[in-house]
Symmetry: C2
C-alpha cells in the first residue's frame, strides 16, 4: 500500500496556487495519490513572527515580480488580486465539508476557488462568492453557506491548522512525502525525487 | 559581448554556500562568466524586518533539516557551525581586496572561506582565521589582516551592501542574469532557463 502525498495549502497563497496545478501530476508520475489539506497561514505566521510576504519591504516587491514571471513561464492565469492577502475561512471550511464527502470534488473546488482569486481577481472572502464558485461543479450553494456557518467545519479548519503547525508546516504550500516535509513551490522537484529515490 | 551573471552571497548563508558550488558551472553552460559579490545580510534583514532563519520558530527547525538533506543530495561537506550565524565583515572585506586584484583568486578564497565555515565548522569571524584560510591559496595572511583593517575595504563592503539593497537583493544567494533578479539557491534552474531562453 502506497502512502498519499499530502499537499497543505492556504487559499490566499500565490505559491500554493501555482503548486496546485502540478501536485497531482507529480504524484501520479511517482505512482501516488494526493491528499489535499487546506490550512490558515495566519496562525502559523503568528508563531513564526512573520508578516504576509507582500507587506515586507524589498521581499514584497520581489515576490510580486516573481509571481508574474512564474505565471508566464507556466502559462497559468494570473491577476494580482485586490485585496491581498485575505482571510480564507469560508473557502477552507467549505473545502473540508466537501473533502469528507468527495475528496476528488473537493480538489476541483479548491482549484476553482484558487482560479477565482488568482486567475480572475475575485475576492473569495465572502461565503456567497465561495458558493458561487462551487455551483458550476454541481455543488449546492445553499449547502456551502450552511457548512461554512456550521461549528463543525469551523472547528475542523481550526484543528487542521493546529495539526499542520504541530507537524512543522511553516508556509504554503507544504508537502509531506512518506513523512518527509517540503516547503514551497520551489521544492516540488525535490518531493518527486524523494519519492522516486525512496529518500536519501 | 555577453554580460556576466552576478552572484551575491553572504558568507554566513548556508544556501549561499550550496549555490557557490553550482553558479560557475551553470553560467558556463549558458556561455557566461560570473561576477561574485559578497554582501552583509544583516543590514538587509534590518530593512525587511526579518530575523536570521535559524532563530525563527518552526522555520528554523525546518531549515536545519533542509540543509542536511541538501548536503546529502549534492554531496557537499556540511557541518552545522557553532556559532551561527556570524558577522562576516573580515571575510567580506578580504574578498573585495582580492577581487580588485584577481577575481578568479577571490572566488577560490570565497569557496575556501565557505568550506572552512560550513564544511569544517570553523568560526571565520576572526581576521586571523580568514588569513589562515587564504594562505594555502598563496595569499599573504599579513596582507589579508592589513586589508581587513583598512578603511578602504571597510567602506567597500558597506557600499556594496548598500548597492545590493538598492538593486533589490532580499536574501542570500541572489543572482542577476541580464538584469533580472533571482533569489535563492532554489532558483538556480530559473537563472539558467532565463539565460537560455533570453527571458520570457
Amino acid at each position: 500500500m502506497t502512502k498519499a502525498v499530502e499537499f497543505y495549502f492556504e487559499f490566499s497563497s500565490p505559491y500554493g496556487y501555482f503548486a496546485c496545478h502540478q501536485i497531482d501530476d507529480l504524484a501520479e508520475r511517482a505512482g501516488r495519490e494526493t491528499r489535499w489539506r487546506a490550512f490558515l497561514l495566519g496562525p502559523i505566521l503568528k508563531v513564526s513572527g512573520a508578516r504576509p510576504l507582500a507587506s515586507i519591504p524589498v521581499k514584497g516587491e520581489y515576490s510580486l515580480h516573481d509571481w508574474e514571471r512564474l505565471a508566464r513561464l507556466w502559462n497559468i492565469p494570473w491577476v494580482y488580486p485586490d485585496p491581498f492577502p485575505i482571510a480564507t475561512l469560508a473557502a477552507g471550511r467549505a473545502f473540508y465539508w466537501l473533502d469528507d464527502r468527495d475528496p476528488k470534488l473537493a480538489k476541483q473546488f479548491a482549484k476553482a476557488a484558487y482560479h477565482a482569486y488568482f486567475g480572475e481577481g475575485r475576492d473569495i472572502t465572502p461565503v456567497e462568492v465561495v458558493a458561487d464558485v462551487a455551483e458550476p461543479l454541481g455543488i449546492s450553494g445553499a449547502d456551502i453557506v450552511a457548512a461554512v456557518n456550521d461549528e463543525q467545519w469551523k472547528d475542523r479548519l481550526k484543528s487542521e491548522t493546529e495539526r499542520a503547525l504541530e507537524r512543522g508546516v511553516c508556509g504554503s504550500p507544504f508537502m509531506f512525502a512518506d513523512g518527509e516535509g517540503f516547503w514551497g513551490c520551489d521544492r516540488l522537484w525535490m518531493v518527486e525525487k524523494w519519492l522516486m529515490d525512496g529518500g536519501w
